[in-house]
């Protein structure tokens, strides 16, 4: 976990630096509080905490004599997580061009497969029925204009 703490601390520290750079373009103001003060306090605290985490990570690494524990999922688990993340990403990019009713059953079927569902009829029936039911509720009852496709 020590290595992970170092990496996380460096990432959040970099984010704090990015925000600090963002403050350089702030206009000056004479009303109430200087617009830089509050962001500075937040950015400085974030940076200080990030560096504390880095130091804690180093100390943890020094103290731990056993080989580092597994920090990232591997093998099938990693593949499944990548598949679901890719599925969601494709969903985001295809929702508008292809329409809700086409992409949602596909994502649901993929997730069912990843969660160990193996009966094809159940996967197809449930993913289509649930998607249509949600589409109907949100479109007809709540009047949410869900993206439509050329088919529906």
């Amino acid at each position: 976990m020590g290595k992970i703490d170092i990496v996380c601390g460096l990432i959040t520290g970099a984010l704090a630096i990015l925000f600090f750079i963002g403050t350089l373009s702030f206009p000056k103001s004479s009303i109430g509080i200087n617009p830089r003060v509050y962001p500075f306090v937040v950015i400085f605290s974030t940076f200080a905490l990030s560096m504390t985490l880095v130091v804690q990570g180093f100390l943890k690494q020094k103290r731990t004599k056993s080989p580092p524990a597994r920090t990232l999922p591997r093998g099938t688990t990693a593949l499944k997580l990548i598949a679901i993340a890719a599925g969601m990403l494709i969903y985001v990019f295809t929702l508008e061009p292809l329409g809700y009713i086409i992409v949602t059953p596909l994502l649901m079927a993929l997730t069912m497969l990843l969660f160990g569902e193996r009966k094809p009829l159940k996967i197809v029936a449930l993913s289509v029925l649930v998607s249509i039911a949600l589409y109907w509720v949100f479109r007809s009852v709540f009047r949410v204009p869900l993206p439509r496709s050329v088919i529906w």
Partner: protein
């Protein structure tokens, strides 16, 4: 009185929302991996389309129902449905092994209802008084109160103080993206036009809490750390007898008082209350040896206490806008999405909403008794919901929910990004509730600071002049010291275990 009658008429006219809330709460509470906070997020797409008072009572029903629901899995499969039900395992599971699962769940139900009723009464009597005091706060007192609220972010983290605080500060960083609240000038948009409006609460909540949970459950499922339940459990008779209840009422009353007090204190919550009540019940019991081996008093103590925290936790949330635990943090975000701003002004400007909530909260306790009984009968069915159906439906619902508020694919993308971030945060011990706290309380703190300095013509000493402000700073310091103590204790326990 007229307000109460109006509220009763309103709540009875919208009873279906309360029934849905309580039922959904019991179900999400019962399923390990889901919790009251996830339940509220899954309901958000519906909540935004109904009246704010109905949405509020639906959420309250869900909050109360989830506390009891957590006991079902604790008793039947020795896996707490929610962290608040962890103490229930100690005696609930041994009772189930003896073939008295129904009785354990029945006792949990009665104790939960009584704890809930007691804390609702406290909510009704204490909240308006506290709101009257809070109305006198000026910007500097409010700023100090927000600082106190922000220190809670340290304690809602489960792994380390640094990570808890860092998560909260990441929330504060995100809350600054968009426009400066005083000057209206652009800041931290990095040239992205979409960032001008900041980060919407809905996709952030859905991503950090619900989508990340689906990813976590997929990982656990893939590694065989959660197993689909297939075995039917024997339930047996449900309600405790009159004789058994006679021996339990003192425990239930004491635990309800303790739970309500702990609920009022920010940064505590149901898990702490239930373990404390369990220990106290054991300490005062004539038969402490029976605890841990299947004592009904153990189940009653932890369940009365965790349900009593619900009304208690609503007091600082409604009167000061400060959440006390993870569920109320999420509830605060949800309230802002549906257009209800908690705080003392809620009591003076929208008193009917508050009365509706009080009446709804009380009715939720009685509904829980009925629906809880039915859910105990159906508990085998609830616990055996196939993961292959549950999580895919949740995922699709989450993405649809993210789309529905702004009718925007950008929000779906945002929910996806925060889902991935939330998964890694959870995995590496960071705290998603702290991010939400920072995101919500940050802008209020900044606005109040700005107001205080405008009024005082830039004199910073205004922030420490009022005794009330000093009191809140002292509370903030005490909250941090308390969190530090808890984490040190945890670290020592972990070291001695290893």
């Amino acid at each position: 009185m007229e307000g109460i009658i109006n509220a009763l008429v309103y709540v009875l006219g919208n009873l279906h929302f309360l029934i849905i809330g309580v039922a959904a709460g019991i179900i999400v509470g019962a399923i390990p991996g889901l919790s009251g906070s996830t339940g509220i997020i899954l309901m958000l797409p519906f909540l935004i389309y109904i009246d704010p008072p109905s949405a509020l009572i639906m959420m309250s029903g869900l909050f109360c129902g989830s506390m009891f629901g957590g006991s079902i899995a604790s008793i039947l499969v020795s896996t707490p449905g929610t962290p608040s039900a962890a103490a229930t395992v100690l005696d609930g599971y041994p009772l189930a092994k003896k073939g008295q699962a129904g009785k354990a769940m029945g006792t949990a139900l009665v104790a939960s209802t009584m704890g809930g009723i007691f804390s609702t009464l406290c909510l009704i009597f204490l909240a308006p008084q506290l709101a009257k005091i809070a109305l006198k706060f000026g910007p500097s007192e409010y700023f100090a109160l927000m600082i106190f609220g922000l220190t809670i972010m340290a304690s809602v983290s489960s792994s380390s103080l640094t990570k808890g605080l860092l998560s909260g500060f990441l929330g504060l960083l995100l809350s600054m993206v968009g426009l400066n609240p005083t000057l209206g000038t652009e800041r931290f948009t990095f040239g992205v036009t979409r960032f001008l409006t900041g980060f919407s609460m809905m996709p952030v909540l859905i991503g950090l809490f619900a989508i990340s949970e689906v990813l976590t459950q997929l990982e656990l499922f893939s590694e065989g750390k959660i197993i689909q339940l297939s075995k039917k459990h024997k339930i047996g008779s449900i309600m405790p007898t009159r004789k058994e209840m006679k021996g339990l009422w003192k425990v239930i009353l004491g635990s309800s008082v303790l739970g309500t007090i702990i609920g009022i204190i920010p940064a505590t919550g149901g898990a702490i209350a239930s373990f404390m009540a369990y220990n106290e019940a054991k300490r005062f019991s004539k038969d402490p040896e029976s605890f841990g081996k299947g004592a009904l008093a153990g189940v009653a103590a932890s369940e009365a206490a965790n349900n009593a925290t619900t009304g208690g936790a609503m007091i600082p949330l409604l009167t000061l806008g400060i959440p006390g635990d993870v569920v109320t943090s999420v509830m605060l975000g949800a309230l802002m999405i549906i257009g209800v701003q908690p705080g003392p002004l809620l009591f003076s400007q929208s008193p009917q909403i508050v009365t509706d909530l009080f009446v709804g909260f009380m009715l939720a306790q009685f509904l829980m008794l009925v629906m809880g009984y039915l859910s105990i009968r159906a508990s085998n069915l609830i616990l055996r919901v196939p993961f292959g159906v549950l999580y895919p439906v949740i995922l699709c619902f989450c993405l649809l929910g993210a789309y529905s508020l702004g009718n925007s694919v950008y929000d779906v993308g945002l929910a996806f990004v925060f889902g991935i971030v939330g998964y890694f945060m959870k995995k590496y011990g960071f705290s998603a509730p702290s991010v939400i706290l920072g995101l919500i309380l940050g802008p209020i703190a900044e606005q109040e600071l700005s107001k205080a300095l405008i009024i005082s013509h830039g004199d910073w000493t205004v922030l420490v002049r009022s005794p009330l402000s000093l009191m809140f700073y002292a509370f903030a310091l005490a909250s941090l010291i308390y969190s530090l103590g808890i984490f040190r204790k945890k670290n020592r326990a972990a070291k001695s275990m290893s």
